[in-house]
């Protein structure tokens, strides 16, 4: 349970408790066949939620806000922003 502590002390990396994925209306869909593993999507992602999972670059949808930067910057057009059906 929340425990208010002196100096407003806060644990490191604790924003991961908030799933900002709820913010998006568009979601990035990666066509792994087109992906050349250049890692630009990982570098440019403001959330830092694109990771390599078994060699494939995948956005973590818990946090992706659907901003579209990865799709826009992908040199091979391997990422498409799709209206997400929830």
């Amino acid at each position: 349970m929340l425990n208010v502590r002196e100096r407003t002390l806060v644990e490191p990396g604790s924003t991961q408790a908030t799933k900002t994925g709820a913010w998006r209306t568009f979601v990035p869909v990666v066509n792994q066949k087109k992906c050349i593993k250049c890692s630009l999507c990982e570098i440019y992602c403001p959330e830092g939620c694109v990771h390599q999972v078994e060699g494939e670059f995948v956005p973590d949808l818990d946090y992706c806000k659907g901003c579209g930067i990865c799709a826009h910057e992908c040199p091979r057009g391997a990422i498409e922003m799709v209206l997400e059906e929830k």
């Binding site: 407003t8 604790s14 924003t15 570098i43 440019y44 901003c67 826009h72």
Partner: protein, 290 residues
């Protein structure tokens, strides 16, 4: 990339600032203490009871980060610790309200690297003009109106102010050039004493451009000569990123809502020429084009 700035922060979707922070921390490493002033970075990354920072982080006020960092740095030196001390602030706290304490920090020669993510207005309070706002940009305190073409003043040259303080390493960087940005962070850490690095970090809410095009907008700023990428070591030009294919400033300006009025108002064309002139003077001053 190291995970020193975790997801879950509350920056707007498409904000360039968290990308900048991740690159800075990736280059600096975990043996780093960060001191931030009030601003978008601070408010979006540390909403109690959460924090995105995986390095020690301290915030006091809007105008005193450099003074606070000075206290941290002298204490670490006294304790014989080699931890990096980095200030990361926005343009409002850097160009305006915090410039006094920054000047003091530079002047005392602390081993502190001051990184400014520059989105060219007070974005956390809703897009008001700052000393970093470029010429004729629309902000909510320098609005385009019947008798106004937006911000009447040119952008304050903060790097030159740092150089004037004999700061040994001064550089400009851009979120659109991550390799260059990381290289400059590492180089600043190798040169003892204060450093100032000004990173262009476009703001989607304040500049109003198409969703997803944040990085492209930053790239256009460099490719048009409006955001020169250079390094000054001990006051002398020590490195410049040449522009391969120079683009007219219009390509950059018409992609942003904050310049929209220049394409509609009668006085617009003259201002566009003046802004092209600013780009031209940057090109000549820093030798951006061979």
């Amino acid at each position: 990339m190291q995970n020193l700035f975790t997801p879950g922060h509350r920056a707007c979707a498409g904000c360039a600032m968290p990308t900048t922070i991740r690159l800075v921390l990736d280059a600096a490493g975990e043996n780093t203490i960060v001191v931030s002033p009030t601003g978008c970075l601070e408010v979006t990354s540390t909403p109690y009871p959460e924090s995105s920072w995986n390095v020690p982080w301290l915030h006091s006020l809007f105008e005193n980060a450099a003074s606070v960092a000075s206290g941290v740095e002298v204490t670490l030196r006294r304790q014989c610790k080699d931890t990096n001390v980095i200030c990361i602030g926005g343009d409002g706290s850097t160009f305006d309200i915090g410039i006094g304490s920054i000047s003091g920090m530079f002047d005392r020669g602390h081993n502190i690297k001051y990184i400014c993510y520059d989105n060219e207005a007070y974005m956390n309070t809703g897009v008001q003009r700052s000393g970093s706002t470029p010429f004729c940009v629309h902000t909510t305190t320098t609005p385009a109106g019947k008798e106004s073409l937006g911000n009447p003043r040119p952008k304050k040259d903060m790097p030159a102010i740092a150089v004037a303080h004999n700061v040994p390493y001064v550089a400009t960087a851009s979120v659109a050039y991550p390799v260059d940005l990381r290289k400059k962070i590492k180089r600043s850490l190798e040169i003892p004493g204060p450093a100032y690095i000004q990173v262009n970090a476009p703001c989607i809410t304040g500049w109003t451009f198409e969703a997803g095009s944040t990085i492209e907008i930053a790239r256009l700023a460099v490719e048009t000569g409006l955001w020169p990428l250079y390094e000054m070591v001990d006051g002398k030009l020590a490195g410049v990123k040449k522009i391969r294919a120079l683009k007219p400033v219009e390509d950059y300006l018409k992609a942003q809502g904050r310049y929209k009025h220049l394409f509609k108002k009668s006085g617009g064309p003259d201002v566009l020429k003046a802004i092209q002139g600013i780009a031209q003077s940057n090109i000549e001053k820093y030798g951006l084009v061979d």
